[in-house]
């Protein structure tokens, strides 16, 4: 009996351990324990967003295979979001074992400096690459450059667009030319007229975390931080920007969504707005409303004193991890695709994923000059690349997202109190800055 039992148990255990082999009949299909690829022609990469970043990486893989190394393979490991990549780096660093990281990771621009500071040995720099860095917008590179050493290969272009529904503007008696280079005061005036005539808001914002104040300040050429410390409460322009935002909300110029879903699904997809201001990655969400094809146009941001404003929001870059045992291959791959401003990579990335380059060279291709039906035939991609070159470099902070959260709360409080007085705004911002400073000290 005992023998039978032992035989049965052994068979059971063997059967369970055989299942993976049965499921992955083809050996190449079987997942391996090592994330970084052992094959000398293969690189592994963590990335997220199957409709945006991943088509761009696939385009680069095809480009490198076709023009440099036919045996090359990019093993793209899909993550559910940028936070997964951040967690993977944190986990590997906490465990003291970078062997669990892939060769390359796609990383959010705003977070890289903080992660480089916390885990300096998790990254490999791009010094070995022969790259014309002047081909890229200085603002984009400022996220991934530390002490003049480049770490990141820019993938997408986070340049902010100010998009307007030209048909609704016309209904209210205005045109896109009136809006280009206008002041925020003029914007508010137009916004009131648009809401009165059409019932649509000229702007929208995610109340749980939006970069509208950040982008508006960047368009003024300033930052919420000075030498690493938050200084926004004493910044006059920032005080004015927050007062303008509160005015816009109370005057029905700006729809304040409760969260991201409310912002995208209700305000934009729900067709509640006549204007959108955000990183250009918001375009696919706008295009979901097919009945508005041919009714939108994009331009630069308004500014406090008038004149065209430029800003950027979001975006990510590729970074080589400490676990990459083939840095030459990784650098060569990046240098011949994203960093080389390869039109083959970026044209396919634009067509398949809507990823817009921040390389001036890639932005000059024919594909970028084509008009887009949704935007009245405007060559928006070329326009965005041009706008991207004008985005001012402003100081970035590791506490960008925390700052955004505290300022968001200050705005909500001011709206609830209906307070746009200079004293009220300054007090709310001082409160927000105090909380941020407390967190930064902790």
């Amino acid at each position: 009996m005992k023998r039978k039992l032992i035989a049965l148990l052994t068979a059971g255990v063997l059967a369970v351990s055989m299942i993976p082999a049965a499921v992955y009949a083809d050996e190449a299909e079987a997942p391996t324990a090592d994330v970084a690829s052992e094959d000398e022609n293969t690189l592994s990469v963590y990335a997220w967003d199957a409709n945006f970043n991943i088509p761009a990486l696939e385009a680069a893989e095809a480009d490198y295979q076709k023009n440099v190394n036919p045996d090359f393979k990019l093993n793209i490991i899909t993550q559910s979001g940028s936070s997964d990549v951040e967690n993977a780096v944190t986990l590997a660093a906490s465990a003291g074992d970078y062997s669990t990281l892939p060769d390359i990771v796609l990383f959010q621009d705003h977070y890289f400096q903080q992660f480089h500071l916390n885990y300096p040995d998790a990254w490999q720099d791009l010094s070995a690459a022969d790259i014309d860095w002047s081909d890229f917008g200085a603002e984009k590179l400022s996220y991934s450059t530390i002490d003049d050493v480049h770490y990141g290969a820019p993938v997408d272009n986070g340049t902010a667009i100010m998009a307007y529904r030209t048909d609704l503007l016309e209904e209210a008696g205005y045109s896109i030319d009136d809006m280009t280079g206008c002041t925020w005061d003029k914007f508010i005036e137009v916004g009131k007229a648009v809401y009165e005539k059409t019932g649509k808001y000229l702007l929208c914002m995610d109340g749980s975390g939006n970069d509208l104040p950040y982008m508006m300040l960047q368009a003024e050429g300033e930052s919420q931080f000075t030498d690493g410390a938050p200084t926004f409460a004493s910044n006059e322009k920032y005080n004015q920007i927050i007062a303008d935002i509160v005015t816009m909300i109370t005057e029905n110029v700006l729809y304040l969504g409760n969260d991201w879903s409310d912002y995208v699904d209700q305000a934009i997809v729900g067709d509640m707005v006549a204007g959108v201001l955000n990183g250009n990655w918001i375009i696919p969400s706008m295009e979901l409303v097919e009945e508005n094809t041919g009714k939108w146009a994009i331009t630069s941001l308004p500014t406090l004193e008038g004149g065209e404003g430029y800003a950027a929001n979001g975006g990510s870059s590729l970074y080589i991890t400490a676990n990459c045992t083939k840095p030459e291959l990784a650098v060569d791959f990046l240098a011949n695709t994203f960093l080389g401003g390869s039109t083959e990579t970026y044209d396919a990335a634009l067509k398949n994923g809507g990823v817009i380059t921040c390389s001036a060279k890639a932005g000059a291709s024919d594909v970028y000059q084509e008009g887009v039906d949704f935007f009245e035939g405007q060559a928006i991609y070329a326009d965005i690349v041009k706008m991207g070159a004008n985005v001012p470099v402003v100081e970035q902070s590791d506490y960008h997202y925390q700052c955004r959260q505290y300022v968001g709360t200050a705005i909500q409080n001011l709206v609830a109190a209906g307070d746009t007085s200079p004293e009220g705004v300054t007090a709310a911002l001082e409160d927000a800055q105090g909380q941020l400073e407390f967190e930064m000290e902790g």
């Binding site: 369970v16 997942p31 324990a33 409709n51 003291g96 209700q266 918001i282 696919p284």
Partner: protein
Amino acid sequence: MTEKPKRNKSAIQRRLIPSYIFLIIWSFFSVFPLYWMITAATNDTVEVARGKIWFGTHAAENFRNLLAAQPLWKSMGNSFLYAIAQTLLCLFICSLAGFGFELYADKAKDRLFAFLLLAMMIPGVATMIPLFVLISRMGLLNSVWGFILPQVSTPFMIMMFRNNSRNFPPAIMEAARIDGQTEVGIFFKQYMPIMRSTYAAAAVITFMNAWNAYLWPKVVMTDNRAQTMPMLIANLASGYTVDYGMLMMGVLFCSIPTMVVFFVLQKQFAEGITGSVK
């Protein structure tokens, strides 16, 4: 004489009306998300975002998009493999432990059991990094063993089997011993058939936990080819633009197995949870 029971009956019915109203409202809130999940899987993303709650005509399109975007069948296969393997091993090990703890006399067993229960008090995230290091050094990342080993024996399951074993008649053990059965034979031939309700309840709980697990698989399954259904759903929900129709189609596929398991074992689950023995 015949009027009185009728009056009583109608009075009882009247008294039950508020309960029924409450239950109907409660059922609505319980069932509506499931209904919405099914209808949303048949609508496109704009219709879902705009709050359409009736059936649409995009089910086939959502399904095609889902197949194109993610390795649906592979993830389903992985989830089944991990969940079934974990359920079988967990049930075997925990029932053996519960059997031993309850039906054999030993002075130290209660102290040992208390020590075991202490493990329940330690939050999972606290052991996440050491476990990850262990599994990583053992070379078990992206393997079925990496998924199931940390969950193969849980204090809760052992406690459940031990508690329910109290209803196992000791006389059966005595009779089996007299008949010449070994202790191992008693476990397989007497204990297992009699405790089948408990096994069913434990199977439902373990299968659902394994199927729905997200954090641990996310940590140890670093390869796309090893991903599970909840990881696939999370991938669908990421990105600047979410296709809600496709996402809900994925959620529907992810929900069906746990629903089937629950409905098939519903009766035994209820019996097993209350500790009944047949």
